[in-house]
Subunit: 192 residues, 2 copies
C-alpha cells in the first residue's frame, strides 16, 4: 500500500533506513468511494495526499459555478498548498470520480520530521518547488492556449483522461461551457 509513495519520495531525496522508517510511521492509507470528498471548501487542508490509484477531480466554486482545476490519477500528489501553508480555509474541493486509494500524512507530523531529521527539510523544499512547477505549467497552458488547442493537446497528451472523464468536467477544466466543447468536438471530427 505504501510502496509507491516511498518510491516517489526516494526519487526526491535518498533516505536511510531510520529516515524511511520515520516517514512510514506517519503514513495513513485511506479508501474513498465514488463521489466521496477528500477535501471540501471551508475546511483547512492539513494533509498531503498521494494517490495510489483511482480518479479524482479538483474544483472550486465561483458564484455557484464549478471551476475544475485538475484531475488526479494514480501516482500523483495533491495538497491545497495555499491552505496547507497559511492555515486558512480552503476553497478547493477534491472529489473521487471513481473508488480511489490514497496515502496521506499530516502537516503536523511532517513538521516534526523537518525538525528532527534535516533531510526532510530538503524533501519539503523540493516538494514546494515541484508544486510551484506544476501550478506554473498549468497556469501557462491556461493563459496561452485557446480552448480548442488545449483540447487537442489534451487528446494527444492524456487520451485516457479524455476517455474516462465526463465531458462537462473536461469543459470546465478547459474553462468553457459543455455546449462549446461539444461544438469543438464536432468541428474537429468533421475537419478530419
Amino acid at each position: 500500500m505504501t510502496s509507491k509513495i516511498i518510491q516517489s519520495i526516494k526519487s526526491i531525496a535518498s533516505l536511510n533506513e531510520a529516515e524511511e522508517k520515520a516517514f512510514l510511521s506517519i503514513l495513513e492509507v485511506k479508501l474513498f468511494k465514488k463521489k466521496e470528498f477528500l477535501l471540501q471548501e471551508g475546511k483547512i487542508c492539513n494533509k498531503i495526499t498521494f494517490v495510489n490509484n483511482g480518479i479524482m477531480r479538483l474544483f472550486y466554486n465561483v458564484e455557484g459555478v464549478e471551476n475544475t482545476i485538475q484531475f488526479f490519477f494514480g501516482d500523483s500528489w495533491y495538497t491545497d498548498y495555499a491552505s496547507f501553508l497559511t492555515g486558512k480555509p480552503t476553497i478547493e474541493n477534491l472529489q473521487a470520480l471513481e473508488e480511489s486509494e490514497v496515502v496521506q500524512f499530516k502537516k503536523e507530523d511532517l513538521y516534526k520530521l523537518y525538525d528532527s531529521m534535516p533531510i526532510f527539510e530538503k524533501v519539503g523544499r523540493i516538494f514546494a518547488e515541484n508544486a510551484y512547477l506544476s501550478i506554473s505549467q498549468l497556469n501557462q497552458m491556461k493563459t496561452n492556449e485557446e480552448p480548442e488547442l488545449r483540447y487537442i493537446n489534451l487528446l494527444k497528451t492524456r487520451p485516457e483522461l479524455v476517455q474516462q472523464i465526463p465531458q462537462h468536467y473536461i469543459a470546465s477544466y478547459l474553462g468553457i461551457k459543455p455546449e462549446t466543447l461539444s461544438r469543438i468536438r464536432k468541428r474537429i471530427l468533421t475537419s478530419k
Copy 2:
C-alpha cells in the same frame, strides 16, 4: 544597499552572525537603467533578484503579443523559478520601467549555502513556498475575476501601480486590449 534584503531574509528565518556573513558574501548589487532587461527570453535564469527600488515589468511573448504577468516595485523578490529550477531557457522578460536598483545572488552560490549551512535549506523551502503562494494568488485572480472587476480592485489595492504604469501595460496585465481598458475606464468614470 543590502540592508533591505537582509531584513527580508531574516523575516523568513533567523540567521546567526556567521550565516548572515555567508549570505552577504554571495550578494551583488546592480543598477539597471530605464528599458534595460534584467532577464530576456531564451536565457537561463540562474539568479534570484531582490528589488531595492524602481519599477519592473515581467512579460512574455505569445505569437508576437506581449503578455504582462506582473509588476515589481521596491522590496519585492523575483526569479523565474521554472527556469531557475529546471535549468531550461526562460520565456520571461524582466524589464526596468524606471531606473532600478537590485540585489542578486546566483543559484550556484545558494546551493553551496544549502549544503554548508542547514538553515538555508529551510530558507529555500520557505522561499519556494512563498513563490507558490504568490503564483497561486495571481492565478486565482486571473481566472476568477472579470477584467473590469480586476481593474477596479487594482485601483483600490495598488493605486500607485495604476498611476505610475502606462495603461497599455496595465491592459496587458489584465489580459485585455488597450482599447478595451480605455472603454472600461470611460464606463467607470461616467457611472460615478
